[in-house]
Symmetry: D2
Subunit: 283 residues, 4 copies
């Protein structure tokens, strides 16, 4: 029971929805989900449409080319996905393992429709966990001088394992612009603060010093500007004066794993469109 998904953005004009719906209907597809959004500031049209391929007249490998006239007509940016494809996610992790565990368990339990063939870390602390979940583990310790060498090694691993996208599950190293460029809008980071508050290092400590009454976590696509990429999801939790820094960290970690896993889920389900350094999340 495979479905096809089109993710489309283009300048707004009359007739776009009708054209897309007709394309699907005339080829005997049944739309299961359709959601559109118009950004009134920039007059941009966004759409996610998902239809059943059962009985669809165009074979999968011809859909994109058959749809091409509409792409040209409306100057669309367009992605085509199929729900039977299970993407490969690499998880990058440092010494904190709560987010890694969360992704592994959700994947095992079928909540995240992806494979995790590889875990990459600058620490050894996740090695045993990788083994328990039968995932290959590679340690690429990064010091001052060897980042580019290690990234080269990482990129070669990502290629070898056919990695589609990366989750930085509290990975505490900054990626080079070249690395980011090769996985544009395909690297999901979890930052342990309510961005744009407390960007950079030690956000929990900063929150504690500031005396905020609520802390947060933010998942975003990684761009060249640290902690400035398009925000995918955020959540918050209440703290009070009794909470020590350790209590805050514990509460925050619950947020981190929830927020990261939602972002990963929506990425897998092709529900995210990036524009203007912001995201449209279709639901």
């Amino acid at each position: 029971m495979e479905n096809a998904i089109l993710l489309i953005s283009c300048p707004d004009r009359k007739g776009i929805t009708a054209s897309i719906a007709n394309f699907i209907y005339k080829n005997n597809g049944n739309i299961e989900h359709a959601d559109q959004h118009i950004d009134k500031e920039t007059h941009t049209f966004f759409m996610r449409v998902e239809w059943a391929l059962k009985g669809f007249k165009i074979p999968k490998d011809k859909i994109y080319s058959k749809f091409m006239p509409l792409i040209r007509k409306y100057s669309m940016k367009c992605q085509l996905h199929f729900t039977n494809y299970v993407p490969n996610m690499a998880v990058f992790v440092s010494q904190y393992t709560h987010c890694l565990y969360d992704l592994l368990i959700r994947t095992k339990e079928g909540q995240l429709n992806c494979n995790i063939p590889i875990i990459i870390s600058n620490h050894s602390s996740a090695r045993k966990i990788a083994k328990d979940f039968s995932v290959d583990f590679f340690e690429t310790p990064i010091q001052k001088d060897n980042r580019l060498t290690q990234e080269k090694k990482q990129l070669s691993l990502l290629k070898k394992y056919n990695i589609d996208f990366i989750a930085l599950a509290r990975y505490m190293r900054i990626l080079s612009p070249a690395f980011i460029k090769s996985f544009r809008n395909k690297i999901i980071n979890i930052h342990h603060s309510f961005l744009p508050a407390f960007a950079g290092s030690s956000p929990y400590k900063k929150a504690y010093k500031k005396g905020v009454k609520i802390i947060g976590a933010t998942s975003h696509y990684v761009t060249e500007k640290l902690d400035q990429g398009p925000i995918i999801e955020q959540d918050t939790i209440r703290i009070n004066h009794r909470d020590s820094l350790d209590d805050i960290i514990t509460k925050g970690q619950d947020l981190e794993r929830t927020v990261l896993s939602r972002a990963v889920k929506w990425h897998i389900e092709r529900k995210i469109l990036v524009y203007n350094n912001k995201t449209v999340i279709f639901d």
Copy 2:
């Protein structure tokens, strides 16, 4: 800059979205919002579509009849609305006035696109408030024996003031089936609990006795079964052992007014479809 809105439900079939989008496109309408949903259990198709009337070829008063062939073809239940029509809301209230105040202020500040020409109460406590906001006020005290007589009077007032829908803003009298029937899916109640928990009277007291750690409020359309109508919106807030019954009531009242005003807003914006004693809320 008027828009038209179609709210549609029908058995799911191929081509419904295409047919609707074509109807709008061929008559030179530009879709501003389109949202659909398919209930997989009952194979029901739901859609809310809103398009700009500027340049639309069909005059307003002919749209429904021109759309009729599609209604017949797909066995649609269909509502047609226009955004320039500002509906008239009656507010029913008893002695608590926080929800009434909230609706009056939001209407005055333009958050709720409706008129409030009339307030009806079984108490006199809201009389001064009605006067401050220049709204007509009628007191229809209801005792054991006079409910139907008073309802007759109320219905006559609602007719006189061209009332489109009713908000029960903590109105503590039960409406008769006949009254409800004459405003089917047009009476919005706020119940001061997280339904289905604590239906009926004194929900805060019951919550206090039970020792729950969170309380809630629920807005729903009124049906013949007390507190059992289709739920429109709910929200919750945390309490603890220090909260007295009075504290719980105070916290709960904040929920009540927020939850009621959201339901009223969505009703005005034609974002609610009722089916199977549940609601679809388009957003």
Copy 3:
């Protein structure tokens, strides 16, 4: 049924709690609430203790002097309050009136145990509201050159009306250091963002541009540094890509009034201690 309240902070030592509890017990007081907190970083002891004055052996006007030996012994900072005293709150407001309305209604309904004898504004938009609630209203329009003159007038009004503390209910003018100094920790502001994110002007616009998925509001005591004073309360609400700037403002205003009213309530109930530019909130 009057109670006395002591709010105490001092360097932590053995025996403080025992000394305070003994002082109350030996003079025949019954403790109704007692809550303490120790800041482990600075080794500071904080306590709020409330006891029934019925049968208490020391008359109200002698309690402080009789307690003085303990203040000296432990180098306490100490406030003594009585629950029968109803404080006078001045509300400062500009053109937005939702927070003003909220404070007036809560006070009228008995949720806030204070008087509001005066509203001060740099606009005329709240004049009618003040009249409806029988509160004196003064317009002190502030332009570039006249701030200090107008503040002098305001301070004179605050004195005349025996004002104990001030709520800035979306008051859009910056107070001078001299003004702030004369009401140290007695001016409560509501800022319409989740501080420290989006301090300064137009926070909703900044949040919209940034593409955050959650917005917030923050109440804090006013200090000389703009939007940097000790945070009393914060709350957040979820937004999404469909929310226009206007939608964000509407959602945010619900937060503003809730968060401001909580801060005012706790201030009235003497539940707030300020230290290190942070707050302890006893509950």
Copy 4:
């Protein structure tokens, strides 16, 4: 750096706090946390006090007997605990393993200060997980006729492993009154609904049918009445019409593990007092 904790409830009288604080002070203890609460309906006094044992004049094993005169004087119910004692928790589980994983990971990472020496299940699905975390695993499948036999076996295992308390981590079997009696207020269940709504079986299905807009989870101590024991913690999450039953289950599972782990944490930290089938949670 060991602390002692007293958990006290008794009829309210003057002088209780002073007596307890004096007992600790005169024996050279330093109070680190003290929190009290008075239930005004039943005139009951509740207190949790924690003090440093360093320098305390009474040896640990004599504290209770030295405190006995105060217990008698005020008719206290009293528990004495020491923070260096790490309790043994047994986890009962059926086929769903997300809560089990959560407890194991939090314990491993030091968030829960307990040991998990044993997992008991009526299924085999957790066997591999138990092995990965080096925990002994016992399968006690329960059918119609063998509950009491299997419970006897379970009780014998709990004794052998010196179990202090039990977490029912989505354990889908009902315990006998005799079993419950032997672990009174020491069995923590997680129910996958916002109690008292949707008690009993299949709460997510019931919530889906009802069309609620928010779902919840509830942790409580187990009593003889199914899903009626004193509530320790609850939390809620928003759902909408797009959420299928599977989506609701996924969202709910996030609540379940968070809510259960908080209850377990507070139980370990001796922050819970049960009275009147409700709980006081000291924070």
